[in-house]
């Protein structure tokens, strides 16, 4: 079997009785890539995953595995492995039987026996020796790893993970996240990961797609998406952000654009005068009390000590603004500012 696993979605549209779940989703996922679909609930990320798996049939558009259209190919004939949020372990089978289930339908890879393959997978997910347990004797994290081993046992081309961590507590989630990433890199299996947790998406992915209302808002590496959000939605959804809506009123010699926001003028680096109305965003960590430019006075509302940094919720007129700094400030009124280069025009 030639190792494969590239995936394309082309203008996939999915309508349910009275809603449009996917409104023209196009994605290009490369072989061996760890690709994440992230967005709030109802954005279509799970429907996209299910469409790839063949559990949903697109209303229009196509899904291609290695360039081949798989419309009409049932799930069992697509080379995918799925891990669901609730793991869906078969309660009447032992751990070993669960992991071995897929090997009823394909030969284990590399000429191994079913037993060898199952043992190998249990070792891979650090569950050596747990094969004879029943699923309900396992912790949530262990169940999750059994589900992962089961999905991987037949050596699928594509691994699909539907919010596999969301039922686990935060600390365990981080541990498992690293483990999933390590296993994925080791096996080099194309992986599509669905999560609503943008932090998780940034941490784990090679690339991610931010989805909203059945559409893809932006596709990019975590750094691109964080630093150069393409839309207001992405700016607000990925990480914390402050959005400023104003009007471009002029340009300066240094190439910056002047934007008037509620009567205050700010300079931003990559503005476009012709745009007229214009929105830019500034990350909380890019706002400082000692900046030379773009200064504005705010009233402190709430202070949260986060350990490494302190987060301030402050009021600027009617507007609430958040900023983070390693150095705490006691004053009730502060003057904040930011570098024109840190403002991102959307």
């Amino acid at each position: 079997m030639v190792s494969v696993g590239s995936l394309e979605l082309d203008a996939v549209r999915k309508e349910f009785a009275d809603t449009v779940a996917l409104d023209g989703v196009s994605l290009d996922i490369a072989e061996g890539e760890f690709f994440t679909l992230v967005g709030p609930s109802g954005c279509g990320k799970t429907t996209t995953l299910r469409t790839i798996a063949g559990l949903e049939t697109p209303t229009s558009g196509s899904v291609r595995f290695d360039g081949v259209d798989v419309s009409g190919v049932p799930t069992e004939e697509r080379d995918v492995g799925i891990v669901f949020q609730n793991y869906a372990l078969f309660p009447h089978m032992s751990v070993r039987e669960n992991v071995a289930y897929g090997l009823n339908f394909v030969e284990p890879p590399d000429g191994k026996s079913t037993d060898e393959r199952v043992t190998e997978l249990l070792d891979l997910v650090d569950l050596s020796g747990m094969g004879d347990r029943e699923p309900d004797q396992l912790s949530g994290g262990q169940q999750q790893r059994v589900a992962l081993a089961r999905a991987l046992a037949p050596a699928p081309d594509v691994l699909l993970l539907d919010e596999p961590m969301s039922a686990l507590d935060a600390r365990l989630r981080e541990t498992l996240r690293r483990q999933v990433k390590r296993i994925q890199a080791e096996l080099d299996v194309t992986t599509v990961y669905v999560t609503h947790d943008q932090e998780e998406a940034l941490a784990i992915s090679d690339r991610l797609a931010v989805m909203h209302d059945g559409r893809v808002e932006q596709v990019g590496t975590p750094r691109e998406v964080y630093e150069r959000p393409a839309t207001e939605f992405v700016a607000a959804f990925v990480g914390e952000n402050n959005l400023f809506r104003g009007e471009a009123v002029g340009t300066r010699d240094d190439g910056t654009t002047t934007v008037a926001v509620d009567g205050t003028e700010f300079r931003v680096a990559d503005g476009d005068l012709a745009a007229g109305d214009l929105t830019f965003c500034v990350r909380p960590e890019d706002l400082t009390v000692d900046a030379d430019t773009n200064r504005f006075e705010v009233t402190v509302d709430t202070v949260e000590f986060l350990g490494e940094t302190t987060r301030y919720y402050v009021d600027w007129g009617e507007k609430s603004i958040v900023f983070r700094t390693p150095d705490p400030h006691d004053a009730e009124r502060l003057t904040l500012g930011f570098d024109p280069g840190d403002a991102r025009v959307l």
Partner: protein
């Protein structure tokens, strides 16, 4: 304040003592009487009456011989004479198979299809729990009797008529009618508890839809099917009114034969038989409870999507439609036939049968059944049953949700009446109290009506407990802890917080108890024999052979009372506790 505290400290244990005392008098003592009498011989005690039955071919057929000569089992295989016990088991097996065959497609339709009224149909599957068995019997006579609806239809089509009354077929069918909804209910609940993701995972691993069904769904349904089948077997094994009314003595089961022995005043045989039957049914019930306790109720995070029942013709829809027709005929048919028969006569539509119920009241001879008396008795006994069964049931529910040593014993005791047939309880009460019992040098006797109420309460309180206990268990512990932290004593918390929250469940249990009492036949028919404390079910049984019209009219009255109770149960309760 101080008085209240004393009352509290004394009150709760006192209620416990009263409840356990009542249980002892109304249930344990009568059963003990039966046990003792079964081994009582002139001048002492002996197991001889029991061994006499065990070795009697009439009761155990070829198995009686096999006790002394095991080879007979090989010699005569497979042409066994079954005997009374063997026949009882045989008809229960057939009934169980029929109920499973009739119930499983129902589970499929209920679990996998969407249609208007699905929830109502689902609730209706609990109806058999409160449906008087004698009413089912009269419905079957009205449908399948010589002049029943079926034969009327056949005749009008010029087809030969069928004679089903007093055949094994109709007994099995009536048991299936009774228990198939139960099997459908329990299995559908299990089916709905299987996450869609299980099947999807199996599919993604390479299983075809059929294979995924076999590997993933079927194993998760099997325990439910087995639970339902075991319960059906127990019910069919102990079934009384249906066998008596539809089969008569020629198709007698153990239960019917015990009744017949009582009527013949052969108490020695009756009690010995009853003991053997009780041992068997207790073992089965124990197995059932053990097995049921092992099942975990699962609820699916995402149940599989239902198929719209109405849509383009497909194989599965055709199957569902076909089943719907069968279900209409089998389940609705008998009840509809009963109603129809009650308002028709030779002259067409008529209220004559209802009129008869009133007229007969005025001009009946003393030995004849007076219909209105039956109605009044039923209502009075129903009220009396509530007075006993509801406090007992609630108290046992409270006890069963606490942790303490000996709880298991109380739990078992609370559910024991499920395993002991009404005929046995009736027999024990008759021998123990109605005929009188001697203690402390005095002879105590109680009147038939009180014994009947006691028997009804014994049959009814487990349903109160099974309704209230889950509701109590479902109350968030933090509510109790909050109230206690605010200064309320444990008993106050029970009165102020917990009981008010389970009022709907108590009302549902009350309706259950009332319905059970109104429909109770097995012990009533024994305790009411020869007296005037007969109830509607007993009256129906006496009418059934001779006057089908009035029997159906009274059946309709019973149906209305049962129906109203059921609506209350359905609105307020959490189901019967069986696969709720």
């Amino acid at each position: 304040m101080r008085l209240a505290r004393v009352a509290e400290r004394v009150g709760a244990p006192a209620l416990g003592v009263v409840t356990l005392g009542l249980l002892g008098v109304m249930f344990v003592y009568p059963v003990a009487i039966v046990l003792v009498e079964s081994v009582q011989v002139p001048g002492g005690y002996s197991l001889a009456p029991i061994t006499a039955i065990l070795t009697d071919e009439f009761y155990f057929g070829v198995f009686a011989q096999a006790l002394s000569d095991p080879a007979v089992l090989v010699r005569s295989f497979p042409d066994y004479r079954l005997g009374l016990f063997g026949f009882t088991v045989y008809q229960a097996i057939l009934s169980t198979i029929a109920a499973v065959l009739l119930g499983l497609p129902g589970a499929y339709v209920l679990a996998r299809f969407e249609f208007p009224g699905r929830r109502t149909v689902r609730s209706l599957t609990a109806l058999p729990f409160v449906m008087p068995s004698i009413m089912v019997a009269i419905g079957f006579v009205a449908t399948f009797g010589r002049n029943g609806v079926l034969n009327t239809v056949l005749r009008s089509l010029g087809l030969p008529t069928v004679e089903l009354l007093f055949t094994l077929k109709i007994i099995v069918l009536a048991h299936a009618f009774y228990d198939a909804p139960l099997i459908a209910r329990i299995t559908a609940a299990a089916w709905e508890g299987v996450d869609a993701e299980m099947t999807e995972t199996a599919r993604s691993l390479g299983a075809s839809p059929l294979r995924a069904f076999r590997d993933v769904i079927v194993p998760q349904l099997l325990p439910a099917v087995l639970t339902g089948a075991l319960l059906t077997f127990i019910f069919s094994f102990m079934s009384f009114a249906i066998v008596l009314a539809l089969g008569g003595l020629s198709l007698a089961t153990v239960e019917v034969w015990v009744y017949d022995r009582v009527n013949q005043l052969d108490y020695q045989t009756a009690t010995a038989l009853a003991v053997l039957e009780m041992l068997f049914s207790l073992a089965l019930t124990y197995a059932y409870l053990r097995y049921e306790a092992r099942q975990r109720a699962t609820s699916a995070a995402r149940p599989a999507e239902r198929v719209d029942l109405f849509g383009a013709v497909s194989k599965r829809r055709l199957f569902a439609w076909g089943y719907a027709v069968v279900a209409l005929v089998v389940f609705v048919g008998p009840m509809a036939s009963m109603v129809l028969a009650s308002v028709t006569g030779s002259e067409g539509l008529t209220l004559r049968n209802y009129q008869f119920l009133l007229d007969r009241q005025a001009d009946a001879y003393d030995f004849q059944v007076k219909p209105l008396t039956a109605v009044v008795n039923s209502l009075l006994f129903g009220g009396g049953t509530l007075l006993l069964a509801v406090p007992m049931g609630v108290f046992l529910a409270v006890v069963s949700t606490r942790n303490f040593r000996g709880r298991k014993l109380i739990d078992t005791l609370a559910m024991a009446p499920f395993a002991v047939s009404g005929v046995v309880v009736g027999l024990g009460l008759l021998r123990g109290f109605v005929f009188g019992t001697e203690a402390f040098g005095y002879r105590f006797t109680i009147a038939g009506p009180i014994a009947i109420v006691a028997a009804h309460a014994v049959g009814a309180y487990p349903f109160v407990t099974r309704n209230v206990a889950p509701a109590l268990a479902g109350i968030d512990d933090s509510l109790v802890e909050s109230a206690r932290s605010l200064g309320a004593s444990r008993v106050r918390v029970m009165l102020d917080v917990e009981l008010p929250l389970v009022v709907p469940a108590i009302l549902a249990g009350t309706a259950f108890a009332f319905a059970i009492s109104i429909g109770e036949f097995d012990s009533t028919v024994i305790l009411a024999s020869g007296g005037t404390s007969y109830t509607m079910p007993v009256a129906i049984e006496r009418f059934i052979g001779r006057r089908l019209g009035p029997a159906t009219a009274m059946g309709v009255v019973l149906l209305v009372v049962t129906g109203v109770s059921f609506v209350i149960i359905d609105r307020l309760g959490e189901g019967s506790g069986f696969g709720g």
